[in-house]
Amino acid sequence: MYLLREMLKHMRIYGLFVKNCLIAQMEYRMNFVISIAQECVFTFAKLLYVILIYQVGVDINGLSPDHVLLFIGTYMIMTGFYVLFFMDNFYQLSQHIQSGLLDVMMTKPVSLQFMVTLRRINFSFPIPNFIVGTSMVVMAWRRLGLESGPQEIGLFLLLIVCGIVLMYALFLLPMLLSFYIIKTQSLIEITDKFWDFNNMPMGIYSRWIQRIGTFLLPIFVITNFPVLAMMDELDTLASIWVFAVPIVMLLVTRKVWRFCLSKYSSASS
């Protein structure tokens, strides 16, 4: 009962975050437009891989260009969710620690991790990602003649949601170093580049990279597994893993967050 009430409260607050961010971003319309244009360039950079694959026109490691299109489309949609929900928050973490906003939020009767890591929602960046990504997925889906009953689409969306949760936990983790280092610019750049491994289906990488990206730093689970599920290529272990790993990572991140915070509380002044 208590838990339910708290959850409702946090959802209501999240609604206010959404509203506040929307108002704030509409206040600066020119910025909004420029941001979309900027993200269009980034989307185009991701599309280069699609252009390349169709230009070469061969099956690579058993994947036709249409398959690759489905993978890259999903990757783009997930990138959209990342910039929508998480990016601004993770980038600003070190700023919040430095400016003391973290201190202020610590005294609020709300989950601190929630307040700090989910406060900002970016509405401009995801637009090109969602438009282009969704069109690619729909196109590839049709060309591959995949089933499109409610069951398939439902499963696909469910796996996307799992991916979003996993993405939150996985990408928050390195940013927690903000508690220890001041300049996080290089860190951000490296994690961003790391994410781009998903720009191609995991099938093109060596076995070892595939294993690392599935079990150790499970980024492939985020964008590859939903597509593999649609292609009916997830074995039993992978099917369990795809639901288990978001929960595992969430617990790990929570633990590390708590650790960093107690360190912060006892080490600073």
């Binding site: 280069l48 891989y49 061969v58 690579i60 290089s186 490296i190 580049k193 781009d196 093109i204």
Partner: protein, 271 residues
């Protein structure tokens, strides 16, 4: 730039050198973060060359393509600027004032500083390259002749100067626009793509390529890298160098007239 005033620009150059030393971790981390896209692309090309029936893709042999991929990322790093943010900051926050008052040219100050930073990075890169050449006998696999290395070096220097000029020109946008940050980031990536920094320009097909050849961008990465990869014939090298020089002069002329308009506006507004 008269001889007498050379001293202060030498000092600017020294500032750039110091800057490169101070931020050397950033430079190396930058190279490290370049390793990820490199790995991705190497895997793609390996997969493509395994699947492709012929031995050549877009006229590149497998080894040439690998050389292209590695060198494109390295050259992209070496010619990248970063001073555009500082210039925009100076224009916005009134940092230009001291340059208007003092007898020093802002353009030369910035450029010498940039060259200073880059000479250190180039030196570090050359050492690294020498080590690789000696250690792995790369040269033999690429059958890279000595004068190709020299031509590559010259074209890289030209590319550096050209790219510096292009981004100097871009940074002047801050005279007319308040939110230039996003523009810089977008332009950076876009020109990197159009310069062949991600994939060889050949993947865009002949029609797009013909258009691109009329722009300065292919001459910053695609041209020097292909001197290295051996895709450009000896005869074409000379023409390419001349085109690099012409674009540098054009960009410089446009920049100087933009500067004159911009500074007028800056003074009128009162910084």
């Amino acid at each position: 730039m008269r001889l007498k005033s050379a001293g202060k620009y030498l000092k600017s150059y020294g500032l750039g050198v110091q800057n490169a030393m101070a931020y050397r971790t950033d430079f190396w981390l930058g190279l490290v973060s370049g390793v990820f896209p490199l790995m991705i692309q190497l895997f793609i090309w390996n997969a493509v060359y395994t699947a492709a029936p012929g031995s050549e893709v877009y006229g590149y042999t497998h080894d040439q393509m690998i050389a292209y991929t590695i060198m494109a990322i390295v050259v992209g790093r070496l010619i990248s600027t970063g001073f555009e943010y500082e210039i925009a900051g100076d224009i916005k926050n009134g940092g230009l004032n001291k340059f208007i008052v003092q007898p020093i040219s802002y353009f030369w100050y910035r450029m010498m500083c940039f060259y200073g930073t880059k000479s250190i990075q180039l030196a570090a890169f050359t050492l690294l390259l020498l080590a690789l050449l000696l250690g792995f006998s790369w040269q033999s696999t690429l059958s890279l002749s000595d004068d190709r290395i020299v031509w590559f070096g010259i074209s890289l220097l030209f590319a550096l100067i050209l790219n510096g000029m292009i981004f100097y020109l871009l940074s002047l946008l801050a005279f007319w626009m308040t939110e230039v940050w996003a523009v810089f980031i977008g332009f950076n990536l876009l020109t990197n793509i159009m310069s062949g920094g991600v994939f060889p320009l050949d993947i865009f097909g002949p029609a797009v390529n013909r258009v691109l050849q009329w722009l300065p961008f292919p001459y910053t990465i695609y041209f020097p890298v292909n001197i290295w990869s051996g895709k450009i014939s000896e005869a074409e090298i000379g023409t390419g160098l001349v085109i690099q020089a012409i674009w540098t002069v054009v960009a410089a002329l446009v920049a100087s007239s933009c500067w004159r308009y911009g500074i007028k506006k800056y003074v009128a507004v009162g910084g």
